[in-house]
Structure formats: structure tokens, C-alpha cells
């Protein structure tokens, strides 16, 4: 993230959406800056898709406001929607059309001027690797290609904001890698919101992460911070001839020792005071037969499970960090 005050592309304030009495999205506020890829995580039914549909104007929020590029989405929907590209969970494809026909239609819908349409079509096909299949029917393409057509549809009008709802579902590993590359590339000159279930994908492609659970934003941090703050707080050691547990507990900094198997232990320690060196020295001195010594870090997966598996998540206790 840049140090100068960044250009805000999305500013969502107190977004709320009710379905009957169910609060699908409850007072969600966040921003997206230019040049950022924001990972949007949450278990199924947490409100991800609802939030994304509200951001792209397909669904009106019950309360709150959305500003896209400083244009109010609710007051000037047409102007705001012109700068958004959206790929829903299921790509909105007309299977009876060819790729060229379909993308041509999308370019019309997004009001690309006639003179630029052919150029926009060519460049988007190149970006998404669709040049070869331009004249084929969408219905006859493989899932991976259909997904790419979906992405092409979302970026054909070079929108400021690209919203992608699970773009890599159902793709093979090579395609996933290509799409991730594409997302990273998009993140350079657009703002991207990426919803996904695949946690490593977030760490690979995103600058920032937010987790939504039961309609509420429960976690919000930059990926860089995440890496720092999730430095090791525990060690795994493996000893061929383990001593009494108390002997290890006496080492300075050790809080607790957990027995995993007869020869493997998890050692919890105070933040930043890793006893690894001490333990290694002791192990050699007392001939414990050290065979393993691994720092364990709290990764995104653990945070995710911690935050989303609790019965009621109190937003006050969640780590809220202004990026």
C-alpha cells in the first residue's frame, strides 16, 4: 500500500441488507483503494455474495451507502455502474452466442463507444486468453474457458472496480494460476474485490483481507500485517529420548507444554521470546536426541476458523485495524 493518501474506489458505509427478518449483511463498512486486491472471506451463507451484489447494484441495500469512485451508487446508479465490472458466482453467459457475439453485447451494455468496441474486444480477449475461441459457441467451451469469458465480461470496459465472486472455482491448477496472475495484474491499475474459499489464494493474490461471518465484518487487516502479527507463538519439538515435561517448562519463556505423541511436543511461549535456541542447547547437553524443531505460525486458516466457528462473534473483541 502506498504511503500517500490513496484513491478511494469503493466506500461502503454501514451496509445492511435484510431478507425478511434475517440480517444477511449487518452494518458492514469498508473501503477499497486503487491498486489494491481485497480478499473477501467467509463461510457459506455469511453474506459475501449479498455484499457483492449490493456493491455492483444488482441488489439494493436496506440501509447504508455505497460510493463508487465518489459517485453514489444509489443516487446515480447508471454512472456508478459504468465503472464496475462484476463476475457473479455463476458467470452470466448466454450459451447460444459465440464468444465474440457475447462480448460485443457486453461492450454495448457497458456503453463502450462504437469506435472503441473492436479494440476493447481484442485486448480483453488477449488478456483472458480467448483469442483462439472467439468464434466458438460459449456453450461448447470448457468450464475454464467459460470462466474466462465471465472475467472478460467483467473487465471489457476497463472498470475502476472489478468484483469477482469465486473466480477460480472449478478450474484446473494451471488455469487457476493463470487467473491468479490475471487478478494480480488487474490489481495494479484497478481495484479488485475477490471473494473466495481458498485461503492460500488470498495470501497469494491479495493486499488486504476481510472476513465476514453472519453478516458482520469480523476481521480486517492487510496481508503484510498478517504475516508480521502471525509470527510464531509455538514450537513443535521432536525428541527421541524425551525428559520429564517439567524440565522443558523450566526453560525461560515457555508458557505451556502440550504432548502430541510420546516423542513430539508443542511448546507455547510468550510473543517474541522464542526458546528455540535454549531448548536446542539443552537437548544437546542432556542428550535428548533432538529430531525436530519447527516454529508454528498462526496462519490465515487458523484465524478464519477461530473467527467463524465461534457461536456468537463479538465485533468488539475482533481485531479491527485501520489499514
Amino acid at each position: 500500500m502506498s504511503d500517500t493518501s490513496p484513491e478511494k474506489l469503493i466506500e461502503a458505509v454501514d451496509l445492511t441488507r435484510l431478507y425478511g427478518n434475517i440480517r444477511a449483511v449487518d452494518n458492514v463498512s469498508f473501503t477499497l483503494n486503487k491498486g489494491e486486491v481485497l480478499g473477501f472471506l467467509g463461510p457459506n451463507g455469511a453474506g459475501k455474495t449479498t455484499t457483492m451484489q449490493m456493491l455492483c447494484g444488482a441488489l439494493a441495500p436496506t440501509g447504508g451507502s455505497i460510493k463508487i469512485n465518489d459517485i453514489d451508487l444509489l443516487e446515480q446508479p447508471l454512472r456508478a455502474k459504468q465503472v464496475i465490472g462484476f463476475l457473479p458466482e455463476k458467470p452470466p453467459l448466454y450459451i447460444e452466442l459465440t464468444v465474440d457475439e457475447y462480448l460485443g453485447y457486453c461492450s454495448q451494455l457497458h456503453k463502450i463507444e462504437k469506435a472503441f468496441r473492436a479494440k476493447a474486444l481484442d485486448s480483453v480477449k488477449q488478456r483472458c486468453g480467448l483469442t483462439e475461441v472467439g468464434s466458438r459457441l460459449i456453450g461448447n467451451l470448457s468450464k475454464g474457458f467459460q470462466q474466462r469469458v465471465g472475467i472478460a465480461q467483467a473487465i471489457i470496459h476497463s472498470p475502476h472496480v472489478v468484483i469477482l465472486d469465486e473466480p477460480t472455482v472449478g478450474l484446473d491448477p494451471i488455469q487457476i494460476r493463470e487467473i491468479r496472475q490475471l487478478i494480480k495484474q488487474l490489481g495494479r491499475d484497478h481495484g479488485v474485490i475477490l471473494s473466495t474459499h481458498i485461503l492460500p489464494e488470498v495470501q497469494m493474490t491479495c493486499n488486504r483481507v476481510q472476513i465476514i461471518n453472519r453478516g458482520r465484518l469480523v476481521f480486517h487487516d492487510s496481508v503484510d500485517n498478517l504475516k508480521l502479527n502471525t509470527a510464531a507463538t509455538s514450537l513443535i519439538i521432536g525428541l527421541r529420548r524425551p525428559p520429564q515435561a517439567t524440565e522443558i517448562e523450566n526453560v525461560s519463556g515457555v508458557n505451556k507444554i502440550e504432548t502430541i505423541t510420546n516423542s513430539r511436543f508443542r511448546i507455547h511461549f510468550n510473543n517474541g521470546q522464542s526458546p528455540a535456541e535454549e531448548i536446542a542447547k539443552l537437548a544437546v547437553e542432556k542428550n535428548w536426541g533432538l529430531i525436530e524443531l519447527t516454529p508454528e505460525s498462526r496462519n490465515l486458516e487458523q484465524i478464519f476458523i477461530e473467527l467463524t466457528s465461534t457461536e456468537i462473534t463479538d465485533p468488539e473483541t475482533s481485531r479491527e485495524k485501520a489499514a
Binding site: 455492483c56 441488489l59 447508471l78 452470466p92 448466454y94 457486453c106 454495448q108 451494455l109 457497458h110
Partner: protein, 250 residues
């Protein structure tokens, strides 16, 4: 924008075999009826010559052809309109329209325009068949124009009703069945006019077919034309409302 949506809709319509099948079957049935009524006209023609103010070929061949196609289209229009919105909703392509910088009126009018083009094509085929008589006899062009206009207005009203019902569901077949039911009811509602004295006028006014009669005589009755236009406008507005409501309430 309306034209882009209409063009896409028409393209999809003609990429599916349905439109071709409908046009082909209709044309075959109408050609048969056309030939049969022409034959009948030729049989009774010698007797008609002696009469003053006798019905001409337009009355005996062309007008019945047009009123028959009205009934046939009562069956056919639900099939043409059922997919309009419901299939987009079912295939999740509606999101594309909702998240694009287009308004609900654009979507609804685009869809209606597409179906209107289809109707016009159908009418042109029908008119060409009728006008082929012009080579051998004298036709009452005013009457034909009136009949065609009346039919166009009525089918457009069918289409508007079908479009609205297609907005209500995400199953095209359900939309077709309900549309057919509604159109059929609007046709037979005047049957009750014979029994119930006080509401007879209202029931007769409601019936779609009742308003065809003046057109078929070649008379442009503004109250009849207005009836169809009101139906079209009301159902298009309802469709827009319905799509907006989906965005708001889901």
C-alpha cells in the same frame, strides 16, 4: 441500449429452433386455411355476383384468416414470451443486466421490442399471403390495413401480458401456462356477458376479442385501439415495477 438488448434477444430467439418452428407451423396452417377459404369463395362467387353489397373476397378470405391467426396466437404467444425474463433469471444472466449501467425500463422495453419485431415478421408473412390475391382480383386495402393493425395491437397486448408473467417466475413453462390461462380468460370473459345483466358491459369491454370487430370492418375506433394500448402500457409498467422490486426486496 434498448436496441442492444432487443437485438440480443432476437438473436437468441432465432438461434433457438422455437422461433423457426413457430413461424413454419403457423405458415403451414394458415396456407391451408387460406386455400380452403379461397376455394369456398370461388364456389359461391357466381351467386354473390347478383347481390347488392355482397361480401367481397376480403370479407370471405382475408378477414377470417386474420381472426383465426388471433386465436392461434393465443396459443403461440405464451411460448414466445415465456423465456423473456424467466430464463435470464434461471440462467443467472439477469445479473449481467442488473449490474450493467442500464435501467429497468431499458430492459423491459428492449425485451418487448424484440418480441414486437417477431410479431411484425409474422404479420408480414401473413399479409404477403393475403396480398397475393391482388394479382387476380380487387382487394379492400383499407379493410386489410385495419384488420392487420387490430391484430398487431392485440398480439402486442398478448406479448405485454406474457412479458409480465415471465417476470414473476423463473420457470419458463410455468410462465407459459399462466400466460395462456390469462389470455384465454380474457378471451372467454365476454361469454358471461350474456347471462349477467348488470356487469355485461364491463365483461364485454374486458374481452380481448370484442375489440377486434371494429378493426375487422376497417374502422379505426379509437376506444378499441386505446383498450389495447392501455393493456400494453399497464403490463409493461408492471414488469418494470416487478424487476425493480426484485432489486429492492428479493
Amino acid at each position: 441500449m434498448i436496441f442492444a438488448i432487443a437485438a440480443r434477444e432476437l438473436r437468441s430467439l432465432f438461434l433457438s429452433p422455437l422461433a423457426w418452428a413457430v413461424l413454419g407451423v403457423l405458415q403451414a396452417i394458415l396456407a391451408w386455411i387460406f386455400l380452403v377459404s379461397l376455394e369456398q369463395f370461388l364456389l359461391i362467387q357466381p351467386r354473390l355476383i347478383g347481390l347488392d353489397g355482397a361480401p367481397g373476397v376480403t370479407d370471405i378470405v382475408v378477414t377470417p384468416l386474420f381472426s383465426l391467426i388471433g386465436i392461434l396466437l393465443l396459443l403461440v404467444m405464451p411460448l414466445m414470451t415465456m423465456r423473456l425474463i424467466s430464463e435470464e433469471r434461471r440462467n443467472k444472466t439477469l445479473t449481467l443486466l442488473l449490474s450493467a449501467p442500464v435501467t429497468t425500463p431499458h430492459i423491459v422495453l428492449g425485451k418487448f421490442l424484440a418480441i414486437l419485431c417477431f410479431i411484425l415478421l409474422m404479420l408480414v408473412l401473413l399479409l404477403m399471403m393475403s396480398l397475393s390475391l391482388a394479382g387476380g382480383t380487387h382487394l379492400d386495402y383499407g379493410q386489410i390495413a385495419g384488420t392487420a393493425l387490430g391484430l398487431l395491437l392485440m398480439i402486442s397486448a398478448f406479448a405485454a401480458i406474457g412479458l409480465y408473467i415471465s417476470c414473476l417466475t423463473d420457470h419458463p413453462t410455468v410462465a407459459a401456462v399462466v400466460t395462456f390461462g390469462v389470455l384465454f380468460m380474457l378471451w372467454i370473459v365476454s361469454w358471461a356477458a350474456q347471462t349477467k345483466e348488470n356487469s355485461a358491459d364491463l365483461l364485454r369491454w374486458l374481452s380481448m376479442m370484442q375489440h377486434q370487430e371494429s378493426f375487422q370492418r376497417g374502422v379505426l375506433n379509437s376506444s378499441d385501439a386505446l383498450y389495447y394500448i392501455i393493456v400494453i402500457v399497464v403490463f409493461l409498467l408492471l414488469s418494470m415495477r416487478r424487476l425493480d422490486a426484485e432489486r429492492l426486496q428479493a
